[in-house]
């Protein structure tokens, strides 16, 4: 294992975040705060409780997930897409490192950013909405697991994309709709029965449900299933990345 290489990639990526602090941290925190103000404080005060908590508190886990997913994917995909685009990837390819180090470096950095961001959003939410965390350990576990899994997913997108449009299309056209329909703003039990079934094909449902369980103690799906599904998705991403590096797909001609 080439630890110096992992450290070099990780620090390089973190330095890139530091250079773009406004865009990478401040802007997602701000936009998520707007949701808290609008849905939590303003509209939420006219809504009844869901699952025994105020609407404002109910949507917090979903909103954190929304930001976490988007930021993990965009950070990780950009992190690997850009060297490919600019040509600096040659150095990573010619270095004495395997895909394990490359992934730990890039995905580790992207996930770290997302985790910091998730914590900042939770801290900001506290200003507008009262909420409790029923299972702090699981809350952190879900946060970390989701950040890593979706950074892996973003990494795959970054390798697959050969232009800027492709880089945006999956987050915009797939992930955002799935997140909105995954129960960020409502409980699945509020849906008509048929949609309750269909929605279970949406992987984001399990993330949000599990994450919300760690806050409020109740969930749409069993917590075990949520954890299992998240792990399954992570394993799928890892397998795909292993295949990418083995075949050189979009990396080594």
């Amino acid at each position: 294992m080439n630890f110096y290489a992992i450290r070099a990639i990780y620090l390089f990526e973190m330095a890139r975040t530091a250079r773009t602090l406004m865009q990478s941290i401040a802007s997602p925190v701000l936009s998520t705060s707007l949701y808290f103000v609008v849905f939590g404080a303003a509209i939420g005060s006219r809504m009844g409780d869901i699952d025994g908590v105020s609407y404002g508190a109910f949507i917090i886990p979903g909103l954190v997930m929304l930001a976490l997913l988007n930021e993990s994917i965009s950070n990780a995909s950009f992190g690997i897409f850009f060297p490919k685009f600019s040509g600096t990837i040659y150095e990573v390819l010619s270095a004495p490192i395997s895909f394990v180090e490359v992934v730990i470096g890039y995905v580790g950095a992207a996930a770290s950013k997302s985790i910091v961001l998730g914590c900042l959003i939770l801290a900001t939410a506290n200003i507008f909405v009262d909420y409790q965390i029923a299972h702090p350990f699981w809350m952190i576990a879900f946060l970390v697991l989701t950040a890593i899994t979706f950074s892996l997913f973003g990494f795959i997108i970054g390798i697959w994309a050969d232009n800027f449009q492709k880089l945006q299309v999956i987050p915009l056209m797939v992930v955002t709709p799935l997140t909105f329909l995954g129960g960020s703003f409502y409980s699945i039990s509020m849906l008509p029965p048929i949609w309750q079934k269909i929605t279970l094909f949406n992987p984001v449902v399990y993330l949000i449900s599990g994450f919300r369980w760690s806050f409020v103690g109740t969930a749409d799906v069993h917590i075990g299933i949520s954890v299992g599904m998240t792990f399954l998705f992570m394993v799928l991403c890892l397998t795909f990345i292993w295949w990418i590096f083995r075949t050189g797909y979009r990396l080594r001609p």
């Binding site: 250079r19 004495p96 490192i97």
Partner: protein
């Protein structure tokens, strides 16, 4: 002695179906400066990329200091530094952080004193905190070299190092390359300028259409270069060269109409006077004569043409 780089039957077919390398066999000796000479599109960059791990070889094997570059890539790549043909840099990174990053990437613990040394050597120390985007093309090229040297490689690849480079940088670069070689490093550079190969290299390999068509000590090439030919256009054709002239480097050409004498222009005695005496003794008259010099350029052009 075991070669520092050994390439065996290397083939590269790109996904497009294009055959960029065709059965390349090449050994690079430890401590030499090797120039890979070839026209644009010959496969120079592809060959270097295959050695360095940027391109997957289609078949064949490559060893760097005895390590297979695919199966033992860690050991192999740790020894290699690469200055690619294209100037690719992260625009907003500073010079020093870019070079420090490269060293870490190649698995070396940080060593600010060493980084300082190479930055100074390459006249980059003043610019150490400048962002890449603020640098001129020549400066960027220097940074690429510093990055390649950051992990103290034993083998250095320079892919068209002087393309678009000013005279000063060129001179600095050659000084640096010679200095590295004097300290035991092996340097492989590609170029399509013959003068560059001539000026720098210990050995020269010529590549064209994905095939190595010649590998020669530069001194040997220069010897061929020093050869001149005197062509005598005869009055009347002869069937054979007279017995007494057998010992001379003579050839009959154009169905006996021409006599070609090869001699070394760098020698005191060319033997031309003697030749002419012998010819008149045998009643061989000539109506015209001319002499030609082989340049490396000619050799190169001939090789490339006959190959096409």
């Amino acid at each position: 002695m075991e070669p520092i780089i050994s390439i065996k039957n290397l083939n590269k077919v790109y996904a497009s179906g294009f055959e960029a390398l065709k059965g390349v066999n090449l050994d690079i000796h430890k401590g030499e400066i090797f120039a890979l000479l070839g026209p644009n599109g010959a496969g120079k960059t592809t060959l270097i990329s295959a050695i360095c791990g940027i391109v997957n070889p289609s078949s064949g094997e490559i060893f760097a200091d005895g390590h297979n570059v695919v199966t033992e890539f860690r050991a192999a790549r740790a020894k290699i530094g690469l200055v690619p043909q294209e100037l690719t840099t992260e625009a907003f990174e500073t010079v020093r952080s870019a070079v420090t990053f490269s060293r870490g990437l190649f698995g070396k613990p940080s060593n600010p004193a060493y980084i300082e040394k190479i930055l100074k050597q390459l006249s980059l120390w003043e610019k150490r905190n400048a962002k890449m985007i603020e640098l001129s093309g020549g400066m960027k090229r220097r940074v690429m070299i510093a990055k390649a040297l950051s992990h103290e490689p034993q083998i250095l690849f320079l892919d068209e190092p002087t393309a678009g480079v000013d005279v000063e940088l060129r001179r600095d670069m050659w000084d640096m390359v010679r200095g590295l070689r004097d300290r035991g490093a092996t340097i492989i550079l590609t170029t399509h300028y013959i003068e560059e190969a001539e000026e720098m290299a210990d050995r020269i390999g010529v590549i064209n259409n994905g095939e190595i068509i010649l590998v020669e000590e530069k001194s040997e090439l220069m010897r061929k270069l020093g050869k001149r030919q005197l062509t005598l256009h005869l009055q009347s054709p002869i069937d054979s060269i007279p017995k007494e002239l057998d010992s001379l480097p003579l050839e009959l050409a154009s169905d006996g109409h021409e006599l070609i004498y090869t001699f070394d222009s760098q020698k005191e005695q060319t033997g031309i006077a003697d030749l002419l005496r012998q010819l008149s003794k045998h009643d061989i008259d000539f109506k015209d004569l001319n002499s030609t010099q082989n340049s490396l350029e000619d050799i190169f052009v001939n090789l490339v043409r006959s190959d096409a």
